[in-house]
């Protein structure tokens, strides 16, 4: 299967690889997937007092599409408010990266990682966790 140019670009030049200090209150961490399934994504956001995501980092164990999906997600997250970030849909990632049907689960995982990171941030800051749709799994 040939990868799209955008997947290759994100894979070869991944944006925002790294680690934020997960002990900080304004950092939300989402760790999703499982080694047995061949994908694990860790996505982190740093949020300022105006609820704006000022930084996002990822690390991913997975195929090129999984790496590209998480790299793209970090790009999209930066500059958005937490509420705006919730509207990122996995199908937007599929479209942007031209993922084939067999790789859609990579985008689903990226969306889960975003939402899990936001929830982590919310809970740390005394907000109730949002119900995450589990329909994807």
């Amino acid at each position: 299967m040939a990868y799209s140019d955008k997947v290759i670009d994100h894979y070869s030049n991944p944006r925002n690889v790294g680690t934020l200090d997960k002990s900080k209150n304004n950092v939300g961490t989402g760790l999703v997937g499982a080694p047995e399934c061949g994908d694990v994504m860790r996505l982190q956001i740093e949020v300022d007092e105006n609820q704006v995501i000022t930084d996002a980092k990822f690390k991913t164990f997975g195929c090129g599409s999984a790496i590209a999906s998480s790299s793209l997600a970090t790009e999209w997250l930066k500059g958005k408010t937490v509420d705006e970030a919730l509207s990122i849909d996995n199908m937007d990632i599929v479209e942007e990266l031209a993922l084939p049907p067999v790789k859609i689960h990579c985008s689903v995982l990226a969306e889960d990682a975003i939402k899990t990171a936001i929830n982590d941030y919310r809970v740390k800051n005394g907000l109730p966790a949002l119900e995450l749709p589990k329909s994807h799994h």
Partner: protein, 404 residues
């Protein structure tokens, strides 16, 4: 001069040896006759070429030329052997014993005969990928008609103990079939000394053409017969109808001749390159060879690079053509069933690469491959959350992963 990408996937298929192509070409042009045409020179010429190829192949595996049945490839030969024995020996029994690590062409054929009322025992292998002989013997019942154990595994290159298996089969009056696809032409295969009754193999895994293969069927001690799976003109002693693929057969014959002639020197050179590749790659932290190192084909190395996913790694080594035990698709998140049969955890099975060298592989290519893989593993580990956790001393087994 290094030409990229470098082909190190020779268990999937090998390039055609130019000497083989030269032998085949006349039979694709002016010598086009049908080997079954008995009444003119075109037919005689084709028949002669086929007979010669039969001799070349027989000489490679130490059998009589009459014991070679030409087919379209190893998958057809596997089908013909298992289904053919199942039908032919139906009055003697309906039980077949095989391994969980067999090729799909064997496993799916076994599934098929189960649907026809057959019984199949799928034996596990040990951590090295080898059959347990005691377990094999214990699995034999008075209904057992066939033991089907591959000569060497396509994913890990592990060689099964042919002689010990055939001794058990003989003792119990059971036929022994082996899928020899990965072994024939690569290591010495002797159907007499190995006690093999039926053996499948293919042209394109031994520098021959695609679309041609053979089934060895023993003619004495015991005389073995298989029921044809294709009806027609009764070619190949009635066991496989269909006009013979003369150029393909000529190519398979030539490939066999070259294999016999060059095996010793080829193996020495290839094994040295494989060993160097493996030794260098094992200097990477947390990397492991899969399968027995002692009982293994000389040109294969299957290595897991922990905390890096195989498909992602293949993309990272884009200048190398290799294969991975990982299949990251929504249809199947299951990694290689062969690696899992060795008892590898799913994450290690997902982290594997298979390197398959050939007689055309060069030292420069191996140098390049070593550097390329080291670089890619290191880059991907920098990106891997699992690697970070490992480095922080976190036991990954204690984490509750969200299965998906």
């Amino acid at each position: 001069m290094l030409t990229l990408p470098i082909y190190l996937d020779n268990n999937a298929t090998t390039p055609l040896d130019p000497r083989v192509l030269d032998a085949m070409l006349p039979y694709m042009t002016n010598m086009f006759g049908n080997a079954a045409s008995r009444n003119h020179a075109f037919g005689w010429q084709a028949e002669e070429a086929v007979d010669y190829a039969r001799e070349q192949i027989a000489s490679l595996i130490n059998c009589s030329p009459k014991e070679i049945i030409f087919t379209s490839g190893a998958t057809e030969s596997d089908n013909l052997a298992i289904k053919g024995v199942f039908e032919m020996y139906a009055s003697k029994g309906n039980h077949v014993i095989t391994l969980t690590t067999e090729h799909k062409a064997v496993l799916d054929t076994c599934k098929h005969i189960e649907k026809l009322g057959g019984k199949v025992t799928y034996l596990p292998v040990n951590a090295e990928g080898l059959v347990d002989l005691k377990q094999l013997e214990e699995a034999i019942t008075d209904k057992t008609i066939l033991i089907s154990v591959m000569y060497a595994n396509n994913e890990i290159g592990v060689i099964q103990p042919m002689r010990e298996i055939s001794a058990i089969a003989k003792k119990h009056g059971v036929l022994f079939f082996t899928d020899g696809t990965q072994a024939v032409g690569k290591i010495p295969v002797d159907v007499e000394a190995d006690g093999i009754d039926l053996m499948a193999f293919s042209g394109h895994k031994m520098y021959g053409p695609k679309g041609v293969g053979a089934l060895y069927v023993r003619r004495k001690n015991p005389r073995v017969k298989v029921t044809a799976q294709m009806d027609g003109g009764g070619h190949e002693r009635g066991m496989r109808s269909g006009t013979l693929n003369v150029p393909g057969i000529v190519g398979l014959g030539k490939a066999a001749e070259i294999a016999k002639q060059d095996m010793e020197s080829d193996t020495k050179r290839i094994a040295a390159m494989r060993d160097r590749l493996e030794k260098e790659l094992l200097t990477i932290e947390e990397s492991y060879v899969n399968g027995s190192v002692e009982h293994r084909l000389p040109h294969v190395s299957n290595i897991s690079f922990k905390y890096v996913e195989g498909e992602g790694l293949m993309m990272g080594v884009k200048d190398l053509a290799v294969s991975s035990g990982s299949a990251c698709t929504s249809a199947s998140l299951e990694p290689s069933y062969v690696l899992k049969a060795l008892g590898l955890s799913d994450d290690l099975a997902h982290s594997s690469l298979r390197f398959g060298l050939s007689r055309f592989t060069t030292d420069e290519e191996i140098d390049f491959a070593i550097d390329h893989v080291k670089e890619a593993v290191s880059k991907l580990r920098e990106m891997s959350p699992l690697w970070e956790m490992f480095k922080e001393g976190i036991d990954l087994d204690t984490i509750e992963w969200a299965e998906h």
